[in-house]
């Protein structure tokens, strides 16, 4: 059963045309003939007629019966065009259903004539079948009504194939959609809820008894289609008509007082659709003077003619407004919703702030404002105490050193000469055993910061060496070491000894590379540190000049004396040079801070360091033993006093700390006992 109220004949024996087979798989053969008016309605494509071959091109005996019926119907239509009242003269041989349709049309036309329908609405009225068709459609289909005889009688055979196209689920919705479609321009206006509709609907239209159910719904003010935009115009309405029918929405005044009376009437309760479907509407009367259109019913029925009602079931309605699919509903939109053009919605920037938020904001604002404020740091009692102690300690030390210096006394004696340290004694022996004029390699490998201490420790040693006639070759693995040596010899010992550069000592310069430099120097001193000096215009290698002319390796020196402040430098000398020294003694005069890590080398059975002197105390011992006064003597008084003050301060501070620690330990058990 088709959706349009027609029952198509079940002529399965006959072969359906290809075009009809394409419409549905289970299309019944023997399609119903096209409606009587086969002329295409306004706006229809002329190709629609091509689907039905003209009568003249075929013999009457060819083709299926339905096709012959169509042709015969066409010929009847052609004849009818010449007759003003074509519906009055039934043709012989017409099927009963066609006769019924014709009668209905005539009745309807008569009614229309009496209701004075405006002429500009002829387009709708002139299509073959017109209201009749819609009435038929509005009537419950014979299948739905459950009347098998009605099913067979009311539905043309040719429509039987069309019913396969529609799904059972969609069929009722489409039917309802079709029912809801307005059938006249008045209906359009009613749907759009427009006031300015040209012409008043004829009073005859209020008579709901002659109208299809869908039209009745509209007149009764039934709910408009859900997705029906009020301003949309059906596709078939020409542009000229649009201007007359649909004024701009902003011009519409929807105050209740301006609406037509029939709209403003309270709509009666809408009977359920099923009840509507069960109550057949009376057949409309056809105005006799309306010309019938040649558009087949089935084609026109398929055409989207009006603003459709949103389907009650299925997908939400989306009506296309542009392009060839304009007016169709339930289409998948061409553009996804996310790229719908138009003004983007504006959102309020007002935040929903709670009291908790406000409190947190206030606290944060306060914190940030405090950061930028200059705050003087709170000075704790402990910091004040520490600062005071620091000042006291510094003042004490400075005074303990400055006062003896300012007094200039030598009250404090040097250590006794009969009890020198082991290292000092050994150094004395080795220097005493130096061969006269023997080359002594002296390395000034200390930083300038330790100049004072090493001056105090080594002045007497140098004095002793020079008195023994040693010829010195000074160099350094520290960049400024050689300059310190020159300073030492020129300024410190010049008071007692006259040293002429390049005669009693040679300056070999700076040896880069640290341990690697010492390693290569020990193996090849002349190649590692080439030196030339100008003697009477001739360049002479320093290694060809006495005292270095006897030296090929480091073991050729009479003694190697290393002055250093660093245990690492001393270790490098011991590891890299000492293995190649052979019998040449290695004497080290070091800072007090390097002594602890050189004692193992000094005490080793291999005798890696032959003599070790450290600090001002060993220098004082050496001076005392040599009975000479040098830097150690000059510093000894201040050193002694400052040493005492330092020991006292450290002792007192540690005593206080130990006492507080013990008190805390005793208090802890008492606290724990209380708890």
């Amino acid at each position: 059963m088709s959706d349009f109220g027609f029952e198509l004949p079940d002529d399965s024996e006959e072969e359906a045309p290809d075009w009809l087979e394409g419409i549905g798989d289970d299309a019944h053969s023997g399609q119903a003939p096209p409606p009587e008016d086969s002329q295409p309605a306004e706006g229809e494509s002329p190709a629609d007629d091509a689907l039905i071959p003209p009568m003249d091109d075929h013999d009457d005996d060819e083709g299926p019966d339905w096709l012959q019926d169509i042709r015969s119907a066409e010929s009847v239509d052609d004849d009818r065009e010449e007759e003003p009242n074509r519906g009055d003269t039934p043709s012989e041989g017409d099927p009963d259903w066609l006769e019924n349709i014709r009668q209905k049309e005539q009745t309807r036309q008569q009614e229309l004539e009496t209701s004075a329908i405006p002429e500009d609405k002829e387009d709708f009225e002139t299509y073959p079948g017109g209201q009749d068709e819609y009435e038929d459609l509005s009537q419950p289909s014979p299948e739905e009504s459950g009347d098998p005889s009605a099913q067979e009688a009311s539905s043309p055979d040719w429509l039987s194939g069309l019913e396969d196209e529609t799904t059972p689920e969609a069929a009722p919705s489409e039917r309802a959609e079709f029912d809801a479609a307005p059938q006249s321009f008045d209906d359009l206006a009613a749907d759009a809820d427009l006031e300015d509709v040209p012409g008043e609907p004829p009073s005859g239209f209020v008579d709901t008894g002659s109208l299809p159910s869908w039209l009745v719904d509209i007149k009764r003010g039934g709910p408009p289609p859900e997705d029906t935009p009020p301003d949309e115009v059906p596709a078939f309405v020409s542009e000229d008509d649009q201007e007359n029918i649909l004024p701009p929405a902003e011009d519409i005044d929807l105050t209740p007082g301006d609406l037509p009376s029939w709209i403003s009437e309270s709509p009666p309760e809408e009977p359920p659709a099923e009840a509507q479907a069960e109550t057949p509407d009376p057949e409309p009367e056809h105005p006799p003077d309306l010309a019938r259109a040649n558009l087949p019913n089935w084609l026109h029925a398929m055409r989207p003619v009006d603003i459709p009602k949103a389907p009650e079931e299925g997908l939400p309605g989306h009506e296309e407004t542009l392009g060839p699919l304009a007016g169709l509903q339930n289409l998948i939109p061409a553009e996804p919703d996310i790229i719908q053009f138009g003004k983007s919605p504006t959102f309020s920037l007002k935040l929903d702030v709670t009291k908790t938020h406000e409190r947190s904001t206030d606290i944060l604002e306060q914190l940030i404002s405090e950061e930028s404020r200059d705050r003087k740091p709170r000075i704790s009692v402990e910091a004040i105490t520490q600062g005071a102690v620091r000042w006291v300690v510094a003042t004490l030390l400075l005074l303990s050193i400055a006062v003896p210096i300012m007094l200039g006394s030598d009250g404090i004696e040097l250590p006794a000469s009969d009890s020198p340290g082991e290292g000092t004694s050994r150094t004395l022996e080795l220097i005493h055993d130096l061969p006269p004029g023997g080359p002594v390699l002296v390395a000034f490998d200390y930083q300038p910061a330790f100049t004072g201490e090493l001056y105090a420790a080594s002045t007497a040693v140098f004095d002793h060496m020079l008195l023994r006639g040693a010829q010195l070759a000074i160099f350094s693995t520290h960049p400024t070491g050689a300059s310190q040596g020159v300073n030492f010899l020129q300024h410190t010992l010049a008071e007692k000894h006259t040293y002429i550069a390049d005669q009693l000592y040679v300056d070999l310069g700076y040896l880069a590379g640290g341990p690697a430099g010492l390693r290569t120097f020990a193996a090849n001193p002349a190649g590692t540190m080439p030196q030339f000096f100008d003697i009477e215009g001739a360049e002479v290698s320093i290694w060809d000049w006495a005292p270095l002319d006897q030296v090929e390796t480091v073991s050729d020196f009479a003694m190697v004396l290393v002055l250093t402040d660093s245990p690492e430098v001393a270790r490098a000398w011991i590891e890299q040079v000492d293995p190649l020294l052979g019998d040449t003694p290695l004497v080290m005069v070091v800072s007090e801070q390097a002594e602890p890590f050189l004692i193992p080398y000094y005490r080793s059975e291999a005798g890696q360091v032959d003599a070790l002197m450290a600090g001002i105390q060993d220098g004082a011992y050496y001076e005392s033993n040599r009975d000479s006064e040098h830097q150690a003597r000059a510093y000894w008084n201040s050193y002694s006093v400052a040493l005492g003050i330092s020991v006292a301060v450290i002792f007192l501070g540690s005593l206080v700390g130990a006492a507080s620690m013990l008190i805390a330990r005793f208090r802890r058990p008492a606290k724990e006992a209380k708890e």
């Binding site: 050193i401 602890p596 400052a642 330092s646």
Partner: protein
């Protein structure tokens, strides 16, 4: 330079030295701008003087002089080529864009340093010190000190890893030896600094009195 100029230069120098020494010694009472000024002067002078010494003592005699007189320097052409190539590669470290080309020169220095360190440690420290016997007490202390630096421990389930009990006891003894050693080292540093302070004040007083009183 004349003796007069030299003498005046020395007097002026002593004055400068006194002022700079006072600037630095004021740090005993807190940081000050003059202290920072003195420090920055020192860094600039030390760096400039060291660079000049390196140029005169290393680069000129060991790179440029052999280029001019290869035979007199006693170097072979291979020797010279090696030096030139390595120096050029190392100079590429000046720019971050070319720094990676200096990696071979850095690798060369690292390889030499590692070899010298290993050879010296084995020959100069490990064998001589390990084979020396200075009494049972010294040997015990040496072993205890070495054991203190042994941190291998077994995990005991959920408890934290702990060393062997005997190792723990010996390690405590080693800690005592290490504490005493570092205390002696601290004393040495303190005495060195004390002598430096005495020397500085002695210098200031001596030269100030010479400047003021003649």
């Amino acid at each position: 330079m004349t003796a007069f100029a030299v003498e005046n230069l020395a007097i002026f120098g002593n004055l400068i030295a006194i002022i700079l020494s006072v600037f630095v010694l004021l740090y005993a009472f807190g940081d000050s701008p003059v202290f920072r000024l003195a420090i920055h002067i020192f860094i600039g002078v030390a760096a400039g003087y060291a660079a000049g010494i390196v140029w005169h003592s290393v680069v000129v005699p060991q790179l440029f002089a052999p280029m001019v007189a290869l035979e007199a320097s006693g170097l072979t052409p291979l020797d010279m080529l090696l030096r030139v190539v390595l120096v050029v590669l190392l100079l590429t470290k000046l720019s971050p864009r070319t720094a990676r080309f200096g990696n071979p020169a850095s690798a060369y220095l690292v390889g030499i340093g590692a070899a010298v360190a290993v050879g010296g440690a084995v020959r100069g420290t490990l064998f001589p010190l390990a084979s020396s016997y200075n009494g049972f007490f010294a040997m015990l202390g040496t072993v205890a000190t070495l054991i203190y630096f042994h941190f291998g421990a077994r995990s005991a389930g959920q408890q934290p890893p702990r060393r062997n009990r005997i190792i723990e006891i010996i390690a405590v003894a080693g800690k005592v030896f290490i504490t005493v050693t570092f205390a002696a080292m601290f004393a040495g540093v303190f005495l060195a600094s004390l002598v430096a302070l005495v020397e500085r004040l002695h210098f200031i007083w001596t030269n100030l009195s010479t400047l003021l009183f003649g």
